[in-house]
Amino acid sequence: MSKAYKTGWFDRKGWSDIIIGLPYVWLVALFLLPFLIVVAMSVATKTPTAPPFSFGGDYPLLNWEGYERVFSDGLYLRAFLTSVVNAAAAMLLCLIVGYPMALGLVRVAPAWRNILLMLVILPFWTSFLLRVYAWMGLMGKNSWFNKLLTDWWNFVVPVDWAVNSIPMMHTNFAVVLVMVYTYLPFMILPLYASLERLDTTLDEAALDLGSRPHQVFFDITLPQSVPGIIAGGMLVFIPAAGELVIPTLVGNSASPMIGRVISDEFNQARDWPMASAVAVALLVLMVVPTMLYSHFQAKSGGAK
């Protein structure tokens, strides 16, 4: 009875339809429609008009040239490969750095937990660009940080290998480093959420049954945190693979990532159909792991 009273207004007069429907309207208007426009553009033909593409008329109705080039032109394939390798490296490093941090957050005294959790999120309060510029400052040839590393390197290695500075800027290393720094919270937070739910009595039970602490970690903690690892991995991998700003600012322009290629096709080459084709290909590349994840979730869903 009381439930009917509480939810009565919600069920009445289609309120529930509106509230549930609004996000769908939002998604259709601001995601699905633009995406369909991009898909349509990807099969258009580049023209010297404004906007710089057309269908039909003097041109073919459907032009598959963009997709053909995506899969035949080495530039695009290399860009895809660079993106996937950089994003995968960033994801793995985020996991390696983030897992102990997430585990620490869970195991630390509750009084400390919120403070440390806030410190993880704190960088978001500063402008993203400012933080990338800070890294550029650190990695630059004349920075104190680079000098320190150079001095250390020259001290450790034989004289023949001595360098004037460590080449960090405009390398894939710099891209991965800054991406790890930027996306680390996206790895830590889902990991923290999944580790925090785990029952620590299970750890005690495993200890009691003859497992040493490191065995308990691999037998009990790690397998149970797989959903968190997958969620965090995707939250890092997907934006990292399409990242534009970081590779543009600190990356090597000779081996661009796919985001940079899309941007250049749109803005420099003004080849919108080509840019759209690359964007659609990137989306497909990202959708496959997402679908695999959903499949995995649905399969293990019954276990919780």
Binding site: D199, L202, Q215
Partner: protein, 366 residues
């Protein structure tokens, strides 16, 4: 008795545990024999679980020593102790099947794969879960989960099995059945059981001996009969079963009986308790089932008159609450041995006589 000279199987010697300024366990000494079911009984916060965790190796001792089978357990980590625990929540691994849960303890054992499989099969058989071996813990019932937890803890053949509130998570009907099952498994395996419980009935039925704990201290150790019939303190008498207690003082001795002056009842004869002196203030405790209710004055040593204030009819028996002339209330149990209307049975507001044997009266100095 040469047996008494031998080193007991488990010896807890002056064990204390402090958390900051709070003393959870205070100077506890106990011995447990091999193959015994020993219960630690007490309310929440009495230190029984802390003591259990110290035996498992999860908590360090602030003072004292624990010897298991003659070996000092100090500094032995949980994974090297021949002690296993059945957790109150069972703590089954949710990502493993029933079978892999049970096999988990054997994972790091230096025995052959075939021997491990045999042991797991034997355990599945012992707890009658062979057909559920491939299920995950969330796919079986609460009672089955409890049996998996038991099998998992027994698979490594511990010297001592610790059971933390083993029946608390089961419903009442299942609990009675499981109680007997636990006892039969204990007899078949011969493993020494240490059970922690807050449920006196559970402790009484399961255990060979019980230690009643309060505020970190052991109040009394004994068989269920000892604890129930011969409690040594007001706390134990009140904790186990129900009692009605009266202020009293020792008046003197009459033959082998103690004569008490009880303001609410008059002069009462009770079984003599050595060491009591004349004039000493004591407590007289009466258990409801030891009191007889009659409508006519019976020929008994201790008789007191009263009036039925309340009565609860349970079928097989009735619980009476009787007002004494002094205004105090006494609880008395009467078995309804005769069927139907019974003229001799006391009813609401009836004048009745309560009587009890001197041997039934519990005299407590503490």
């Amino acid at each position: 008795m040469p047996a008494a000279q031998a080193e007991p199987f488990l010896r807890i010697e002056g064990v204390s545990k402090k958390f900051g300024s709070f003393t959870a366990v205070s100077d506890v000494s106990l011995t447990v024999e091999k193959g015994e079911i020993f219960a630690l009984l007490g309310g929440s916060g009495c230190g029984k679980t802390t003591l259990l965790r110290m035996l498992a190796g999860f908590e360090d001792l602030s003072a004292g020593r624990i010897f298991l089978d003659g070996k000092d357990m100090a500094g032995v980590p949980p994974w090297l102790r021949p002690v296993h625990m059945m957790f109150q929540s069972y703590a089954l691994f949710p990502h493993m099947t029933v079978e892999t849960n049970i096999a988990y303890g054997l994972k790091h054992e230096p025995i052959s794969k075939a021997a491990k499989q045999d042991r797991v099969r034997e355990m599945l058989d012992l707890v009658q879960l062979t057909q559920f071996a491939a299920r995950k813990p969330h796919q079986i019932s609460g009672g089955q989960r409890q049996r998996v937890a038991l099998a998992r803890a027994l698979a490594r053949q511990p010297k001592l099995l610790l059971l933390d509130e083993p029946l608390a998570a089961l419903d009442k009907k299942l609990r009675e059945h499981t109680q007997f099952e636990l006892m039969s498994i204990q007899q078949r395996t011969g493993v020494t059981f240490m059970v922690v419980t807050h449920d006196q009935e559970e402790a009484m039925t399961l255990a060979d001996r019980i230690a009643v704990m309060d505020k970190g201290q052991v109040k009394q150790v004994g068989t269920p009969t000892d604890i129930y019939e011969f409690p040594n303190s007001r706390f134990v008498a009140g904790f186990i079963g129900s009692i009605t207690s009266f202020e009293a003082s020792v008046k003197g001795r009459d033959g082998d009986h103690l004569v008490l002056d009880v303001p609410a009842l008059g002069a009462v004869q009770a079984r003599d308790v050595p060491g009591l002196v004349e004039g000493q203030a004591v407590t007289l405790a009466l258990r409801p089932e030891k009191l007889r209710i009659t409508k006519n004055r019976p020929d008994a040593t201790n008789v007191v008159e009263g009036q039925v204030k309340d009565l609860a009819y349970f079928g097989k028996d009735s619980l009476y609450r009787i007002t004494l002339p002094s205004g105090e209330l006494v609880q008395a149990h009467a078995v309804n041995a005769n069927r139907g209307e019974d003229a001799a049975r006391a009813d609401w507001d009836d004048r009745v006589f309560l009587s009890f044997d001197p041997a039934s009266a519990i005299v407590l100095a503490e």
